[in-house]
């Protein structure tokens, strides 16, 4: 017996990373038995939406899969009086009409897709690589004819070329959700604390005895845990255009500290010798000039950059310059960690691979990558050989 159409729909959604389990499927059957969603195709879609669709998921994808399943169901033409079919669609005479509608809907969707593809094919090389990377990171791109430049805040700096193409990055489907980000940061103690260890601090104990004339209490050695403050260094412009939204989300969720020392600084390609305070990269800091701010306690530094992986390039000069910049950064950073928005599997052969191998730990932006990066910021580096 061919699989039931709603089951195909269910499977397709599962494949598309909708968090659905068997209980969700039986919930749908229960609702169908209760007389819900039987009026029409739209009614059935509405029922599926209420039961299976959750905030933050792609509604377009959900609909597409629904119609796709209907079309396939029609092609398979199930026997009419199959008692196992709980689906009303196959039992109604409307089935043919519904399927036709569905085909139209799918064709429309496909049309949309092809116009989208042909338009993107014309983009400048810079955006091309950004969009190409988007295939992996699921950035959604929406038409925005109504977006006139005058209303955009200059600070946000959506790329002028992107405006000319009438696309903006919505940043809705990221490799890591805001919630996962917030949760990851909880593992980073926000203040460096002196934690006592089991090791006796002999010097301090002798001093105690000398002061009081007897052995009153043992002094233990302490160990510093966590970092005093966090400094984010974000690569901006160029190949990072596609990841601006993601980088901003990471920055927004990161713990912030009060005081003179900055929480976020920007750079382009190489994190030094200058770092910029603003997105327009007008107000620059020399790394050395930052050093006095971290004299007493160094910072944890998190660098967010594709390190050449977005365009798949190997650039020897870039690696050398990065090494120089890192040498300077070590003066202010206790632990330096690199977060790469391009997935791990695309680093091979690019500058990213060499920076990771030779210079410092690099992690991809994903739930586990983020956790490892935060562990590394705490000084607990777990690197594969």
């Amino acid at each position: 017996m061919p699989p039931l159409p709603l089951y195909r729909f269910f499977q397709a959604l599962r494949k598309a990373n909708f968090a659905l389990g068997v209980s969700d499927y039986s919930l749908l059957l229960e609702a169908l038995n209760g007389g819900f969603g039987l009026q029409s195709e739209a009614d059935l879609l509405r029922l599926c939406r209420t039961l299976w669709f959750k905030p933050g998921q792609s509604w377009e994808l959900f609909q597409e899969q629904f119609y796709q399943a209907l079309v396939e169901a029609k092609q398979l033409s199930l026997p009419e009086d199959d008692p196992a079919t709980l689906e009303p669609i196959d039992q109604t005479k409307q089935a043919a009409k519904l399927a036709d509608d569905a085909i139209e809907a799918v064709e429309e969707a496909l049309d949309d897709q092809s116009t989208f593809e042909s338009e993107t094919a014309n983009t400048a090389t810079e955006e091309e690589s950004a969009l190409e990377a988007g295939k992996f990171v699921h950035l959604s791109i929406a038409s925005s004819a109504e977006l006139a430049g005058e209303n955009l805040q200059s600070k946000e700096q959506i790329h002028t070329q992107l405006q000319a193409q009438s696309f903006i990055f919505q940043g809705r489907y990221q490799p890591i959700s805001k919630r996962q980000l917030t949760q990851s940061w909880r593992y980073l103690p926000d203040r460096s604390e002196d934690r006592p260890t089991k090791e006796i601090d002999i010097n301090a104990t002798v001093e105690n005895i000398a002061k009081t004339g007897r052995l009153e209490n043992l002094a233990y050695q302490t160990q510093k845990e966590g970092i005093a403050r966090l400094l984010l260094l974000i690569d901006y412009e160029g190949s990072m255009v596609a990841f601006h939204e993601l980088a901003q989300q990471i920055a927004a969720s990161a713990p912030k500290t009060e005081g003179k020392a900055p929480n976020v600084l920007y750079f382009h390609d190489v994190p030094g010798p200058q770092l910029f305070q603003d997105l327009d990269q007008t107000k620059a800091y020399q790394i050395q000039s930052l050093a006095p701010l971290y004299r007493h306690r160094k910072a944890g530094i998190l660098i967010i950059s594709d390190a050449g992986a977005a365009r798949g390039r190997y650039d020897r000069q870039r690696i050398i310059q990065t090494e120089k910049a890192l040498l300077q950064l070590r003066a202010i950073g206790q632990h330096i960690v690199w977060l790469n928005p391009v997935p791990n599997k695309r680093w091979a052969g690019t500058s990213a691979q060499y920076i990771n191998k030779l210079l410092l730990p690099m992690y991809e932006v994903s739930e586990s990558g983020m956790q490892q990066a935060i562990n590394a910021l705490r000084g607990k580096i777990n690197r594969k050989p």
């Binding site: 919930l27 209760g34 919630r179």
Partner: protein, 332 residues
């Protein structure tokens, strides 16, 4: 018991005082409520601020229980510091300690404190040592014939782990009091209708979402807005209603196009129209113009896409500087 969304076509008055405004749910929302009721699952509502998420609970309770609705509506307004346990019960440890002191002089009290299980729980409840929270109140009161409506309002205000702490209670329709070791379980059929609202300020955990039905309340269309104004202000002239709604919709679209972060909401239309019709009734003028003429002028200028749009009582609708500047640049 089926929700039809028909009970609140007119405001509800008690002793001459208006208690509930009319409420007009669309058919999608009505179906979602019935589905939640049938499957005994919580209904998670999202939508623009002011679109009537919170008010649904009141409307459903009123339709189910009529004038007695307030006995069956249990609201739980979540704040940024709210803990999940507060929804179930709070235990006053200081009061319990005080009883230990009094126990020395009272034989009766001594015996009472020896009680176990349910009896001890009842004793604690009588003495206000255990206070039930909204969640357990709603569970206790609810029956299949007279279901309560539990409103968990703005669930996203609390810590990101808050919803996770409620999973067991929502799943099993049960709660447990640790101090008396008394489990309380209800029949699934007796479940209350649980309505949860969120403004999506924080993402909700997947495990929590999995247990909820989800419905997004769309911004109402023109006929629905008309219905709402008709229900609220039956005395006001129709032409003024028509024009106000038209101006409001055009203004809303213009502000959205201007990338304003703050969208105009239904509740703002109600406030605005309330003020307009009040001024109209008393024949007050704005800048020397009667109210209906002023609203007409607003529509004309919005249609012409003029950079400067005269907007009577703009303070009610424009809530940030960008919005004011994009409609009334001369305020600069």
């Amino acid at each position: 018991m089926k929700y039809e969304g028909k009970a609140l076509q007119k405001p509800f008055y008690r002793n001459g005082v208006k208690e509930i405004d009319p409420y007009f749910p669309d058919s999608d929302l009505i179906e979602a409520v019935n589905l939640a009721r049938y499957l005994k699952r919580p209904l998670l509502l999202m939508g623009e601020p002011g679109c009537g998420k919170t008010r649904l609970a009141e409307a459903v309770a009123f339709e189910f229980h009529g004038e007695e609705y307030d006995q069956y509506l249990v609201p739980w307004y979540v704040k940024s510091t709210t803990k999940a346990k507060e929804g179930i019960y709070t235990f006053d440890a200081i009061a319990r300690l005080r009883l230990t002191e009094l126990e020395k002089d009272s034989e009766v009290l001594r015996q009472q404190l020896q009680l176990k299980g349910k009896d001890l729980e009842n004793f604690y409840l009588e003495n206000n040592i255990i206070r039930k929270g909204p969640l357990s109140k709603a569970f206790d009161l609810s029956t299949a014939e007279k279901p309560t409506v539990l409103l968990i309002d703005e669930v996203d205000k609390a810590d990101i782990d808050f919803p996770n702490d409620l999973l067991l209670e929502l799943d099993k329709n049960a709660y447990y009091i640790t101090e008396t070791q008394t489990p309380t379980e209800r029949r699934k059929a007796d479940s209350p209708l649980i309505i949860i609202t969120s403004n999506n300020e924080k993402e909700l955990p997947p495990a929590f979402l999995r247990r909820c039905l989800f419905h997004y309340i769309k911004f109402p269309q023109e006929p629905q807005l008309r219905q709402i104004l008709d229900g609220l202000f039956d005395q006001a002239p129709n032409s003024l209603k028509e024009d106000s709604i038209k101006a409001f919709i055009m203004l809303r679209e213009r502000l959205i196009q201007g990338l304003s972060q703050k969208k105009l909401s239904t509740s703002e239309l109600i406030d605005w129209f309330d003020a307009l019709q009040h001024q109209h009734q008393n024949n007050l003028t704005i800048d020397g113009q009667p109210i209906d003429k002023a609203v007409e002028a607003t529509i004309t200028e919005l249609t012409n896409r003029s950079p400067q749009v005269p907007l009577p009582l703009y303070q009610i609708l424009l809530k940030n500087w960008e919005a004011v500047l994009s409609i009334l640049p001369d305020k600069k």
